[in-house]
Structure formats: structure tokens, C-alpha cells
């Protein structure tokens, strides 16, 4: 198939020529998903620590909720956020619909259960004996919790990478709440790599679409490589 080859070469030339449309789309993608991550990770860590290490009524219900949340399709999240933020919705007054902020919100909703779930299984996977050893060496209650979290740090890293991967590669919700807006001269406002791929595909610009896809994959891939490098070094 000749268009696959030409897509690869177009992707390459778009990257080396620092195509301004590409840069602005990548910029929006990274900013939005990065922001979602910054908000979601501490929240997820807190929830995971509570669910994994504390005992309280309703914990199992919450765990089930988290596990369900991990599989919710992004369009549904987008739809709910859209209804909440639209003019007639409860938060319509904030005027957030069709802004990058709206996209950050929906991505947060989307990835928090995923990150929490992966962090939770990492925490649960830490040997109980670690917590006991911490106690035996004079750790306070908080230090005990922190020690277990530190033991689960590779799992946490995996969670963060997985969360970012899901955020940057999801289409459904950002398309709905961001509006996929681009200003004249290809200046992206709420158009991300994924929604740009949708647009280019609709236009029949399959090469450009594939080129954007390649950029997306390269971003996700290099993050994963970085993560596995850190894990292999193992001394942090």
C-alpha cells in the first residue's frame, strides 16, 4: 500500500520541518493531558492509599466503583461533562464549554479511576511484611503508609504512564467538550492529536492523519520507554 509509506515520509517531514499546525496540535494535546495528569495523580494516590491501606465502611463499594470507572467509554464521560458544562447545565455559568479547561476536566474524570485502580493493585501487591518491617524498625503510622507507597512506586509510575496514555489517546470526550476548534492558519485552540486525526480522515487526508498518528504513538512510546528504563535502574 503506497499511502502507508508516503504517510511515514510525510510524518517525518512534518516533524523535521516543525510544521506549525502539528506543533500547535501537539502543544494542546500535551498541555491538556499533562494538566489532567497533574490534577488526577495526587487525587488518585490519595484515593488508592485510602482504599488500599485503610479500613472503613463502603470500601468495597468504592473499589467496585473504581473498577467500573476504569472501563467507562470516553464518549460517555464527555457527554456527562458536556451536559454539566453546557449553558443550561448546572455549571453553565462558568462558561467552560469549548475550552481546554473543559477537556482537562473530562480527561481527569476519565483517567482518575484508571490511575487509582492501577495504583491500588500496586499497593495491594506490596507484601504485608513490608509494613510490619517498617513498624518493627520504628516507623510511625504515617511513615508506615509512606513506606508501602514507596515500595509500590514502580506500580505508581505504571499507573501514571497508563493514565497519560489513555488521556492523550482518547477522542470521544475531548471532541465533545472541547469542540475540536482550530483558528485560521491552523492555530489549535481545542484540537488535539486524536481529534485532528478524525478531521484529517474525514477530509480524506489519510497521509496527514497517519502522520499525526505516528507522532502520537511516538510520544506514548517514548514515555513508556522512559518508564521502563527508570524501572530497570531500580534505585530511586
Amino acid at each position: 500500500m503506497p499511502s502507508l509509506l508516503s504517510a511515514v515520509s510525510q510524518a517525518f517531514s512534518m516533524i523535521v520541518s516543525l510544521d506549525s499546525y502539528l506543533l500547535s496540535v501537539v502543544g494542546v494535546s500535551l498541555r491538556v493531558s499533562g494538566m489532567a495528569l497533574v490534577i488526577s495523580v495526587p487525587l488518585s494516590a490519595l484515593v488508592a492509599a485510602l482504599l488500599g491501606l485503610a479500613r472503613f465502611p463502603g470500601r468495597n463499594l468504592l473499589r467496585t466503583l473504581v473498577n467500573t470507572g476504569m472501563g467507562v467509554p470516553s464518549v460517555i464521560v464527555g457527554l456527562v461533562v458536556l451536559l454539566l458544562l453546557s449553558r443550561s447545565g448546572p455549571f453553565g455559568g462558568l462558561g467552560l464549554l469549548w475550552t481546554p479547561t473543559a477537556m482537562v476536566i473530562s480527561q481527569c474524570v476519565l483517567i482518575t479511576p484508571l490511575i487509582t485502580g492501577v495504583m491500588l493493585s500496586a499497593l495491594v501487591g506490596v507484601d504485608r511484611a513490608i509494613s510490619e518491617a517498617a513498624h518493627a524498625l520504628g516507623a510511625s503510622r504515617l511513615q508506615r503508609v509512606l513506606t508501602v507507597i514507596r515500595e509500590a512506586r514502580f506500580g505508581f509510575l505504571t499507573a501514571v504512564i497508563a493514565g497519560f496514555g489513555r488521556a492523550i489517546s482518547e477522542v470521544g470526550s475531548v471532541l465533545l467538550v472541547g469542540g475540536n476548534i482550530v483558528f485560521p492558519h491552523g492555530v489549535s485552540y481545542t484540537r488535539t492529536l486524536t481529534t485532528a486525526i478524525v478531521v484529517e480522515t474525514r477530509k480524506g487526508q489519510f497521509e496527514t492523519a497517519l502522520a499525526l498518528g505516528i507522532v502520537l504513538i511516538v510520544i506514548v512510546l517514548s514515555l513508556n520507554l522512559l518508564a521502563s528504563r527508570l524501572q530497570r535502574r531500580g534505585s530511586w
Partner: protein, 289 residues
């Protein structure tokens, strides 16, 4: 245990049957979202399928993608509304036997409070100028579709270069773009058909109309059908494509188009049947011997 096995096998074979139940011929059409969203094609395809025993598969995308799919031999037939792009498709030798099928028109729609004050204008170019002057939000489809191409040429006629931040592109199909424009309180250009079929759910009013209701002829929106050239793609179903073109342009097909209503409104005017010869429909518009 045995009963479970039997149940699973019969369920499975039922599913498998569903997959292959259609052993007959099929025809693949690529078309624009603006035609498909109205539901007209479902009506036409049902009648066509009944007569010829063919399953019609419709791929609804933007005009650009529809023609691109045809150019690469992935469909048998295109039904689109972008004459310049169609002509290029013909000149490239990818398509043959073009026919005019029908027309409807574009309309300029906008929020009920009409901040640019364009309601009732007879000239769409004037309306575009006023929108630009008042810097009211305008949501372009920005997807290389027929509607998008027409909108760009209208800005040109109006002598305005649209700019940020009031001018935005959504990159979405006609229906999605209307929904978004409605939620944003923005003006947008749309084909009449999609607008009417979605009207009840939109907070948008028709402000400048096209020729279907005696408005600006610049908003005329003709649809053409083209078969994929069997000399380029011999494996495509050319015969059935020609049958489809024949059906669409026959009195029966034209009658279905004529009678088609959404919310009691007529969306398309058939234009294939004419006593006068209209040679320009067969070749690129500027074609000379």
C-alpha cells in the same frame, strides 16, 4: 452439560449465519454526511434494493474523503455536492458518467438574538460582511466538505478574510457542527436538509436562505452522482453502479426525492429529468472540445 454445548453451538451458528446471510451482490457508495443525515438515502436504497436484489452499503464521510475513497477504488459510486472537486475527479479519470441528481440549498443559520443583524438579508455576501464587522462567532466546518468549500468561496465573494478569535473551525460533520454552533451561539453555514432534520433540537434560526425558497442563488447546492471508472478499477461493481445511477435519475427515483419530507418540509428538488439537453452535467464545467 450436553444441553449447554448444544445451546452454545446453536447460538454461535446463529451469529455466524447473521454474518453471511447476505450472499448476494453489494454496492458500496461513499457520500457526504449532509445527504445521509437526512435519511433520504435509506428511502432510495430500500427501493433500489427491492428492485435489484442488491445490498447497498453507505459510507457517509466528508466530500473530500468520499472522493478520496473513490479515487483509491474503495467504493463503486460517489454521491457528493462539490462541483469543482467532482470535476477534478472526472479529469483525473477516476470517475465516469456523471449525472445531476437533485439540488437543495445552503442556508446561513445563527443564534436567535442575531448579534450581527443578518436576518432577512437577500445577499449572503452582505451577511458574511456584517458577521465579520461585528466579529460575531462563526463556526466553520473546516473539514474540506462541500459545505466548507462553499463557505470559503462565499468569504471570498464577500471580500473578507476570516480571522481569530471569532472565526473557528470544528472539523466536524454537518450535524455535529450544527449542535456545536447551537451550544456556542455561533453562526454557521449548513445545507437546508440537515438543518431541518435537526431544527427542533437546535437554538438556531434560518437567517439567510437559498434558491429553494427564492433566496440568494449563490447558495444553490447541486448533488451529482459519479460511477468509479471500471477501466481503472475493474473489480468494482460498475454494472450495479450504473444501475444505481439509472435508478436515481429515473422517474421512480426522482419521484422519491420529490416526495421526501422531513418534519413536513421538502428538502431536495429533483433535477435529473429535463426535456432540454443539459450537457454540462456530463463533463467538467469548463470543458471545451
Amino acid at each position: 452439560m450436553k444441553r449447554v454445548v448444544v445451546l452454545v453451538i446453536s447460538l454461535w451458528s446463529l451469529l455466524a449465519l447473521g454474518q453471511v446471510a447476505w450472499g448476494g451482490e453489494e454496492l458500496v457508495i461513499s457520500t457526504t454526511t449532509s445527504v445521509y443525515d437526512t435519511g433520504l438515502l435509506d428511502r432510495l436504497n430500500a427501493a433500489f434494493g427491492e428492485r435489484f436484489g442488491v445490498m447497498v452499503k453507505v459510507i457517509a464521510v466528508g466530500t473530500g474523503a468520499a472522493l478520496r475513497l473513490a479515487r483509491e477504488g474503495n467504493v463503486d459510486l460517489v454521491l457528493v455536492h462539490a462541483r469543482a472537486a467532482e470535476d477534478e475527479f472526472l479529469r483525473g479519470g477516476w470517475g465516469i458518467n456523471r449525472r445531476d441528481v437533485m439540488y437543495n440549498d445552503f442556508v446561513l443559520v445563527g443564534p436567535p438574538d442575531d448579534p450581527a443583524g443578518v436576518g432577512g438579508l437577500k445577499s449572503v455576501a452582505e451577511a458574511f460582511r456584517r458577521i465579520a464587522e461585528s466579529r460575531a462567532r462563526f463556526l466553520s466546518r473546516g473539514d474540506d466538505s462541500g459545505t466548507h468549500k462553499r463557505e470559503l468561496s462565499l468569504w471570498e465573494v464577500a471580500g473578507v478574510i476570516p480571522d481569530a478569535p471569532w472565526y473557528m473551525e470544528s472539523g466536524k460533520g454537518q450535524g455535529d457542527n450544527l449542535v456545536q454552533a447551537s451550544l456556542m451561539g455561533a453562526y454557521t453555514l449548513t445545507d437546508r436538509g440537515t438543518f431541518i432534520s435537526l431544527q427542533e433540537r437546535l437554538e438556531l434560526l434560518m437567517l439567510v436562505e437559498g434558491p429553494l425558497n427564492g433566496g440568494d442563488p449563490l447558495l444553490m447546492n447541486p448533488y451529482g452522482v459519479i460511477a468509479v471508472n471500471p477501466a481503472v478499477y475493474p473489480n468494482r461493481n460498475y454494472i450495479m453502479a450504473m444501475a444505481y445511477i439509472g435508478f436515481l435519475t429515473s422517474p421512480e427515483g426522482q419521484h422519491i426525492i420529490e416526495e421526501f419530507r422531513v418534519n413536513g418540509e421538502r428538502l431536495f428538488v429533483p433535477m435529473a429529468l429535463s426535456r432540454e439537453p443539459r450537457f454540462e452535467q456530463y463533463v467538467p464545467q469548463d470543458w471545451r472540445r
